[in-house]
């Protein structure tokens, strides 16, 4: 269980929200909903439309493509943004490997959210750049 204040405190420790002051963090916390998933449940489903953008508060989850585990996500990691930005269904399942607590914002609300908080957009861009660099390293 977490109040808006508690969620804002947790977000303050995550890189994605690292540039925000307390009143802004409280505002951001109010835009998201808290959700929990038991171990084993899927949060994103490969090929199904309409998913959201998630930030992990507690627990871990596997990224699974066509039944093969590709990565593990932990506290502070986020997922779901790629399919929302591209307007396509997720290309992977994300399944909880422990009881998982996240905050989520709906796909249709993500653009307005990022435009309202450009520092979060910048941090997200940095994270994507890192992922792209790593993917390119693996290829070469």
């Amino acid at each position: 269980m977490a109040t808006r204040e508690e969620i804002a405190d947790i977000l303050a420790g995550f890189a994605l929200f690292g540039d925000l002051q307390t009143p802004q963090l409280l505002g951001v916390a109010g835009l998201f909903d808290e959700v929990v998933f038991p171990q084993g449940e899927r949060i994103l489903r490969q090929g199904l439309t309409g998913s959201g953008f998630y930030v992990i508060l507690e627990g871990s989850a596997d990224v699974i493509v066509d039944g093969t585990q590709r990565a593990t996500l932990h506290r502070g990691d986020f997922f779901g943004e790629v399919s929302i930005l591209l307007g396509e269904p997720p290309t992977a399942d994300v399944a909880a490997t422990s009881p998982l607590r996240c905050i989520v914002i709906a796909g249709p609300a993500v653009e307005a959210f990022l435009v309202a908080y450009p520092r979060i957009m910048f941090r997200m861009l940095q994270a994507q750049a890192r992922r792209l660099r790593n993917a390119n390293r693996w290829r070469s």
Binding site: R4, T22, L26, V35, G47, G52
Partner: protein
């Protein structure tokens, strides 16, 4: 001494339901239909739950149309009636309209209370009123877990506990001085706010219900929370402040006595005969203060789960909802189920950000029936019918469901009409089930039909084909008048079903 005339004295029962609001009544009705013996306990003196007191301004947010395209006794009419409980017997269906005086299609609170009491009475639902659940213990024995309930009337034991106690415990945040604020639940009669400056904390429906209702009395109204309000007409869903309460937004934009602020509250302090509310603006972090004669915390409610967290029931969110399975069973303590508004804890896929509408009667009444059937089947071995369907009838049947089924319309992308397909059993109607349960827990090949919305205003049917462990999603076309039984829909559905029903593949 006269014997206590109330049913269900303390003792052992196969199932115990706690609560006599719409959630408890609906589950009890379902359990009776399946012949599952159970006790219903309620702290209240009569049926109705929260509608015995609220909404504060005595008019519901959810409507019932006395006149609709379908007759009142038909299942299809439920699309136009958000407030009645649901039943198989035509004479128990859609009772709300009978109690409405025609002044509004939003029933008054007393009309809703009368509707619920009439359902309990006519369906013969027995409740032990005036019996308050006070605590719980868990007894693990060789044959499984038993729950011991301590109540104001004595001790009860059961293996299956269904809690329909509402999301009803007033909750307030904790800035310094919050004790100067009244909670929404303790708002006084409206006329007592005549000429006062009222500061309302919270931008949910309850905050804007107060802002609307007090507009005729208060001299100034400020509504404040850190995040901007969402409006249902903007989210094109039930997410956000409902259309009934939009007037304060217009007043705010016109500068006419209502101010809506995005700010966090640093504290509330006495300032002479009034209060000073210290704020920090969300947009720029600047401090500001507002003077008010009254401060009201319209900050929501939590689940009154008493000591269940100490038994291992995990909760989440500001409302302290229990973490549950798609069938509304605690995901950490098996044997404890949730009905009524708490069933919103099973969130479903939330496709396009649109949640299940289980926080309201028109959504959770169907969850209650599904839960009763699930308990009857899995805990008591009751076999419920799964009628066969001819392959040639599948298209017409599913498209009629997509056009008319109230379960699919009120619980979009959450509840589905489900057909199972197997070589041995042919095509069987599995009934209405939660979509997540269908996709994750059913070990058969199935077809699931839903009605969905994508947040742009579009409403359209979606068929899921779940075959050999893989799910494919097939959105069907929309229709300007929401008729999903056209030739275009038949063709699209036939194409989607080709992989699971061979005759449609051949036809295609």
């Amino acid at each position: 001494m006269t014997p206590d005339p109330r049913p269900f004295p303390p003792g052992d029962y196969p199932v115990i339901v706690i609560g006599s609001g719409p959630g408890g009544l609906q589950v009890s009705y379902g359990l009776r239909r399946h012949g599952v013996p159970h006790a219903v306990l309620s702290a209240d003196p009569s049926a109705g739950g929260m509608f015995r007191r609220w909404p504060f301004f005595q008019r519901l947010l959810s409507w019932t149309k006395p006149y609709a395209p379908e007759v009142r006794s038909a299942r299809e009419y439920q699309r136009f009636d958000w407030n009645s409980l649901v039943a198989e017997e035509p004479e128990l269906r859609s009772l709300q309209a009978e109690f409405m005086d025609g002044s509004s299609y939003f029933p008054s609170r007393p009309e809703m209370e009368a509707n619920l009491a009439a359902f309990a009475d006519r369906a013969g639902i027995e409740v032990r009123y005036g019996c308050r659940w006070e605590g719980t213990a868990r007894e693990d024995g060789p044959d499984g877990t038993t729950y011991l309930l301590r109540t104001s009337d004595g001790e009860y034991r059961t293996r299956v506990l269904v809690l329909a106690v509402g999301v009803a415990e007033p909750w307030s945040p904790s800035p310094p001085g919050i004790e100067h604020a009244r909670h929404y639940a303790d708002t006084r009669e409206a006329s007592s706010y005549a000429g006062k400056r009222v500061f309302i904390i919270g931008k949910q429906n309850s905050g804007f219900e107060l802002a609307s209702g007090l507009a005729a009395w208060a001299s100034q109204i400020v509504v404040c929370s850190p995040s901007p309000a969402k409006l249902s007409v903007q989210t094109r869903s039930l997410v956000g402040v409902r259309a009934r309460y939009v007037q304060p937004f217009e007043d705010n934009f016109l500068g006419l006595g209502v101010s809506i602020l995005d700010a966090s509250i640093d504290g509330i302090a006495h300032a002479g005969d009034a209060y000073r509310v210290d704020l920090k603006r969300t947009d720029n972090g600047m401090s500001m203060s507002v003077e008010a004669d009254e401060v009201i915390a319209a900050t929501g409610f939590t689940c009154p789960l008493l000591d269940l967290p100490s038994l291992g029931v995990t909760t989440f969110g500001q409302a302290k909802l229990p973490a549950v399975t798609p069938m509304w069973e605690s995901s950490t303590v098996p044997g404890i189920y949730f009905a009524g508004t708490i069933s919103q804890a099973a969130q479903g896929l939330r496709k396009h950000g649109i949640p299940a509408y289980s926080g309201a009667v028109h959504g959770h009444r169907y969850n209650g029936l599904i839960l009763a059937r699930h308990i009857a089947e899995t805990r008591f071995g009751v076999e419920t019918p799964r009628p066969s369907l001819a392959e040639a009838d599948v298209l017409g049947y599913l498209l009629r469901e997509a056009t008319c089924a109230p379960e699919l319309w009120h619980q979009k992308a959450y509840l589905a009409r489900v057909l199972s397909v197997s070589a041995g059993d042919g095509i069987r109607d599995e009934g209405i089930l939660p979509l997540v349960h269908v996709l994750d827990a059913m070990d058969r090949d199935v077809i699931a039909m839903t009605v969905e919305a994508d947040g742009t205003g579009a409403i359209y049917p979606v068929v899921y084909v779940h075959r050999e462990g893989r799910t494919t999603e097939h959105p069907l076309p929309g229709h300007p008048l929401l008729d999903f039984a056209t030739a275009e829909h038949r063709a699209a559905l036939a194409g989607a079903l080709g992989s699971i029903l061979p005759s449609y593949a051949r036809a295609g």
